[in-house]
């Protein structure tokens, strides 16, 4: 019975920083290059090579500090974490250990209908390792050192998470924030954001159990699967009278199962000590303060603005805010036109996002079409064309097939809003409909819809439905 059990989860999230060069070398920090293309003498651990800190990484860490409510430490120290592996050319990883750059932060996440505060113990800068490739040759392993030295910010939460959904919410909030402040591209498939999940189980109200760490999960789906599997695995062991061993686990994406990689007995002694090749990082208050304006508007700030100033519905506001590029597109449209934000928002999350999704486009690709889009929305909101005509024209506008006003003319979709003309059409439509008119006057509202449809048909869909409605009511009530 898993009902009495609860899970306790802490997360270690590795975020790759979006710098142009690596943490301690001038090699390019980019994904997708040829193997071992972005490797210099420092990255490959040649004799006598020395690390030089990339200050851009410190600035990004400070930004993160502001966004995640951290205490930004003026004094932090890079240490060496010593272990042998072929994709770790120096024989040690440079990381922060005793003195991290950020400590004691938090973020608020959605948990059911409430907000929950998730405390974050620390965040520190460290180098990534390279990649070992074991499936090219049966006999040999291959090493790609491109990733060696890539700057990572490791964000370590307290064990404040208690369900897979909370973990997903926490991860997506982190991802959203890091992308907002432009320190991480958030691309989980490329490994820009990865999580180690520490999970233990306990009966409600009891002491913490022994935890297992599931390494290196790089999609929300896998995180959820891994947590659910591991939760059940631990409960089964305890239910059968067993004990949880403190293990490091791997998640097998093909079977959806976790399995032990190494037990605590075989855990490394990393022999951390301050890297004598690097000076401690000592920041002045001015250096820290200088970064604050670069943080920009965070999702929560935007949400408040969208609800209170733009009067959007919460759900729609959240959809727009989810990704910074959506919000940017939205705000660009607002700044360029006088169409009501709420009207723009409805079209954005509706037909415009649908178009993007169907055509597999990047939101950013619409940035140079915002003027055309808002021009179209203007035509719709001014009743120059109908909603339906707007939906017809939108894909053409987004495909860059022409100006909205030209397209309206070209396709003859201009709405008839001339009341004289409409009155004439309506009068003609009502001829021979005495029976239905009587029904209406007898209280059957449904007949109104029938008349509106008939009138629209008579205008070939170009009649302004609001106006038709108004005139019809006047006529029918006589």
């Amino acid at each position: 019975m898993s009902n009495n059990w609860e899970m306790v989860i802490g997360l270690e999230v590795h975020a790759q920083l979006k710098t142009s060069s690596k943490l301690f070398s001038s090699s390019p920090n980019q994904f997708g290059s040829e193997p071992n293309e972005n490797v210099n003498f420092i990255d490959s651990g040649m004799p006598g090579m020395l690390p030089v800190m990339n200050f851009g990484c410190i600035e990004m860490a400070i930004k993160t500090g502001y966004a995640l409510n951290f205490k930004i430490n003026k004094h932090s120290v890079f240490e060496r974490k010593n272990y042998f592996y072929p994709d770790l050319p120096q024989g040690y990883q440079i990381s922060q250990f005793e003195f991290p750059i950020l400590s004691e932060g938090y973020i608020n996440i959605d948990s059911g209908d409430n907000q929950k505060k998730i405390r974050i113990e620390r965040a520190h800068l460290e180098q990534d390792a390279g990649k070992s490739i074991h499936d090219i040759d049966p006999k040999y392993s291959f090493i790609d050192l491109n990733r060696v030295g890539t700057p990572l910010l490791e964000i370590v939460s307290y064990p404040d998470l208690s369900s897979a959904d909370e973990v997903i919410n926490y991860m997506s909030s982190l991802r959203q924030l890091l992308m907002y402040i432009d320190v991480c591209d958030g691309n989980m498939q490329e490994g820009s954001l990865r999580a180690d999940v520490n999970l233990s189980v306990r009966k409600k109200g009891q002491e913490l159990g022994t935890r297992c760490e599931i390494k290196n999960l790089n999609s929300f789906k896998f995180i959820k699967q891994a947590i659910e599997y591991e939760f059940q695995r631990q409960i089964n062991i305890i239910d059968c009278g067993g004990e949880i061993e403190q293990n490091t686990m791997l998640f097998d994406t093909s079977t959806g199962e976790t399995r032990a990689m190494r037990s605590k007995e075989f855990s490394h002694d990393y022999r951390y000590f301050p890297d004598p090749d690097l000076l401690p990082v000592n920041l002045s208050q001015e250096q820290i303060d200088k970064i604050k304006p670069l943080v920009g508007e965070l999702p929560q700030d935007k949400l408040n603005k969208y609800l209170n100033i733009y009067c959007l519905d919460k759900d729609i506001a959240k959809i727009i805010i989810a990704e910074k590029q959506n919000a940017n597109l939205f705000e660009k449209m607002i700044s360029e036109s006088t169409v009501k934000p709420k009207f723009i928002a409805a079209w954005l999350v509706g037909d415009i996002f649908a178009f993007i999704k169907e055509n597999n486009l990047e939101v950013i690709s619409l940035n140079d079409k915002t003027k055309d889009i808002t021009d179209l929305l203007r035509l719709i909101s001014d009743d120059v064309i109908s909603n339906k005509a707007g939906k017809e024209i939108l894909p053409k506008v987004l495909n860059g097939e022409g100006k909205p006003s030209d397209l309206v003319k070209e396709l003859g979709l201009e709405q008839v809003s001339d009341s004289g003309e409409l009155e004439k059409i309506i009068d003609e439509t009502l001829v021979g409909e005495e029976e239905n008119i009587l029904k209406f006057q007898g209280g059957s509202d449904r007949v109104l819809g029938y008349f509106v449809g008939k009138c629209l048909k008579a205008t070939k869909g170009k009649g302004n439905p609001k106006l038709i409605n108004k005139i019809l009511l006047e006529r029918l009530k006589k």
């Binding site: 003498f41 490959s44 651990g45 040649m46 004799p47 006598g48 090579m49 020395l50 690390p51 030089v52 800190m53 060496r80 010593n82 042998f84 072929p86 050319p89 120096q90 024989g91 040690y92 090493i143 002694d269 022999r271 951390y272 000590f273 890297d275 004598p276 090749d277 690097l278 000076l279």
Partner: protein, 480 residues
Amino acid sequence: MKNSISQIKKALIEKKISVGELYDEYLAKAKSGNNNSFNLVIDKENNISSINDSQNRYDNGNPLPLDGIPLGIKDLFCTKGIRTTASSKILSNFIPNYESFVTQQLLNDGSIFIGKNNCDEFAMGSSNETSYFGPVINPWKNKNSQKDNLVPGGSSGGSAAAVAEGSCVASMGTDTGGSIRQPASLCGIVGLKPTFGSCSRWGIVAFASSLDQAGPLTNCVEDAAYILNSINKHDFNDSTSSNHQREDYLIDINNSFEKKIKIGIPSDYLEDVSDEILNQIDNTKKALSKHGIEFVDVEFKTTEYALSTYYILAPAEASSNLARYDGVRYGVREDGESLDDIYLNSRTKGFGDEVTRRILIGAYVLSAGYYDAYYRQAQKVRRLIKNDFQRILNEVDFILTPTTPNEAFKIGDKLDPISMYKNDIYTVPTSLAGLPGISIPSGLSKNGLPLGVQFIGNYFEEKTLLQLAALAEKELSFNE
């Protein structure tokens, strides 16, 4: 007397000798030398364009500061296209594709490298007996026991012996706990360890990063100033390189001091010292007193902890610095059944006993449960040692000590590591403090072997330190 850099430059300017002839002369000595002071000697044809360029500059009347000067380079400096081994089997086939910052400065100033000097393996040793390429023999002989081969000191033993035997005009060494000063003393030459942070460590095979410092081994103090002028520069690529304003170390080197100088002699350094060593201090004191320099007794409170502190910190750093030598990307690889076997075999066979010993000590003092007791404690003591020096250097301008507790000893004489480590008792504290120290020859022992004294100055005070050493040198110089 061997020729100094300024004498050689004068001869080159006056066309009494050509750059090529100069190179031939030293190369012949380097090749015929049977002291094993080089791991590799560079034939003239491999240096011919440098030699010709240098000669052209002399012919055009615009020679560079070290133009045409043949130098020996400790085999710890990476030299582009020239095998660099750190005197270790594991790097015995390694040819770097880059030039160390320091040697690049020397090349920029026109000097020509005659070869790579033998040294202790990864600079770990005080006698040059740990080299994979065999021990270096001190050119000096005990006059009472001529047949004995003596050690040149270490770890820059080959660099010291090469200068002493005359196979290069000057040489580059590195000093972690005395590796320039001690061999200079045992070979009767000058050895300068600059302040930590003066000369970039970029491209020098690392031993203990917080202590390693490059410096010259030369026939005279003025030559050391020539070399220091070239190599003492800020380097952006070494985070611990100081960016203070550098001075011209030659310009005032022969001038007398304008202000009254006070030198401290640490009484605690001289407690268990032989009369012969005490005499070196007394002679130096007498000689400099004539110049109005005042001497006072000072006392360190931390000296007895220095060696143990050093032998925790240096191996700790070394154990990590040497992790990259795994046979995977470069160097000698020994095959094995598994990855672990490749590591085990390559490193077991690739490193000698002393290096292995220090890696093990270093891994031990950093390991969980021992870190606080050893590494962290040693860091605290290091801080106290620095403070101790600072306290004394607030009272005096310089400190005078022996360089070594004894003269050069026989190869194979000191088998137990502790007695070997004790050879660095006077040089290690300075290294821990990061201060500059210079050893100059002060006299001969009863056995006719050279002995040296060490002057220690304040941080980045190399200019006055060299000035003082030059003054003492004039008074103390001995003839072979």
